[in-house]
């Protein structure tokens, strides 16, 4: 690979990233900001792949651009057109032209100074050179960690406590969303084209999720990317107007939501009782334990991300089935009137 052409590629990618970030935050059109942010996330995934970070690229494309974009788009779409700008300016106590010129320039200069300080610190750190102490420790212990993908080993073995807390953060966010109000209104039942796509896309997504979970032990992949695939399957089910989006209800839903944190705690406390440190896997069992924890984490991540998109507590299946049949009856009559 020619280093000059790689440099041209890097420069183009950098300009595209900065340009998309600037364009997403210029202007006052909310919808445009969200769409440009999704594009920014996808180009960022290309940057991760270029920097030899394939696990992060998968997660960014699925979660950072895909799921975040879906959340933001559904938030923008639910607002009535034209309400965004007037409502926003009346909420703040600003003058008609928004922030004053002085405030804008001061904040811009301060942010530029922040960028300068960060760049100076980066230059200084890169001049000192990388310290390979931690990477060497990771590669030295990789053989006894139970997996051969170093990122999975770090996430689920060496820094398993951080992943446990991350799953707890995810759960806390969804509980907060539950507490804030009912779920967002659903979508109309899909026409034949979208319905046909959903019928074969959802099984493919489930298969891909299982594949990513399994392959995460020795190749890029893992529980987070697999959970995002399952959540995407649920999002697509919701967008096609179905009432059941693949989530169980009642007690099973609560168990699935807490499964990630629960499995971590179960394994950790059992090991503690057996005399080992908390989440310190014995090398012979490490692979199996990691797979068990990853499976529970995948289900939990999928359920919590899907509930975050749902926007609230899902209705019970019986109630949902009744409302769906009522909606289908009314929409069938409307379709008969409208189709030429």
């Amino acid at each position: 690979m020619n280093t000059a052409s790689l440099l041209v590629f890097d420069a183009l990618l950098m300009l595209t990233l900065v340009g998309l970030a600037w364009a997403a935050l210029a202007g006052s059109d909310e919808r445009l900001s969200v769409i440009l942010f999704i594009a920014f996330g996808l180009v960022l995934a290309v940057a991760w792949a270029r920097l030899l970070a394939p696990d992060v690229a998968l997660a960014e494309a699925a979660i950072g651009a895909g799921l975040s974009g879906a959340l933001l788009l559904s938030a923008v779409g639910s607002r009535p057109r034209g309400a965004s700008r007037t409502r926003a300016s009346s909420m703040q106590n600003h003058t008609e032209e928004g922030n004053t010129r002085v405030l804008q320039w001061t904040i811009t200069l301060l942010c530029a100074a922040l960028a300068g300080i960060l760049a100076w610190a980066l230059l200084h750190a890169l001049d000192i050179g990388p310290t390979d102490m931690l990477p060497q420790a990771i590669s030295a212990n990789l053989a006894t960690s139970g997996v051969s993908n170093p990122v999975t080993a770090v996430l689920l073995n060496f820094r398993a406590y951080d992943t446990l807390l991350e799953l707890a953060v995810l759960l806390a966010a969804v509980l907060g969303i539950f507490a804030l109000g009912p779920a967002t209104p659903g979508y109309q039942p899909a026409g034949p084209v979208f319905d046909g796509l959903v019928r074969w896309l959802v099984p493919v997504l489930i298969l891909t999720a299982g594949y990513l979970l399994w392959v995460g032990a020795h190749a890029p992949g893992g529980a987070f990317q697999a959970g995002a695939m399952l959540a995407a399957a649920g999002v697509v089910l919701r967008l096609s107007g179905r009432s059941s989006i693949g989530l169980p209800n009642g007690l099973t839903l609560r168990i699935v939501m807490a499964a990630g944190v629960g499995m971590f705690l179960l394994v950790g406390l059992t090991l503690l009782v057996l005399g080992r440190p908390f989440l310190g896997y014995p090398p012979a069992w490490a692979g199996t334990l990691i797979l068990m924890i990853e499976t529970a984490a995948m289900l939990s991540i999928a359920a919590t991300l899907l509930l975050a998109f749902h926007g609230g507590r899902p209705k019970s299946h019986a109630l949902a089935a009744r409302t769906e049949s009522a909606n289908a009856a009314t929409s069938n009559t409307c379709n008969e009137e409208q189709t030429p």
Partner: protein
Amino acid sequence: MINLLSAILVLAGVFFYLAGSIGLLRLPDLYSRLHALTKADNLGLGLLIAGLALHMQDVFIVLKLLLIWLAVLAASATSAHLIARQARRREAGS
């Protein structure tokens, strides 16, 4: 030889992407833009994947690339249909 063929296929794919993007910017209304975007980008992706598949040693990776192309084909066709139908409804309503 394989490098040359692969480069030609990738360049052809990039040309179709360029054509689709120019169509997005220059064509007059929503439907023609959707047409340009979907057709040109799907063909561009297919040529790109064909160019990449020539470099792969493992047949499973080629099958995965093919699956990616099929999934993008189906998803872009469906979303173009949904956008066009929504625009039609909005026109008919107003």
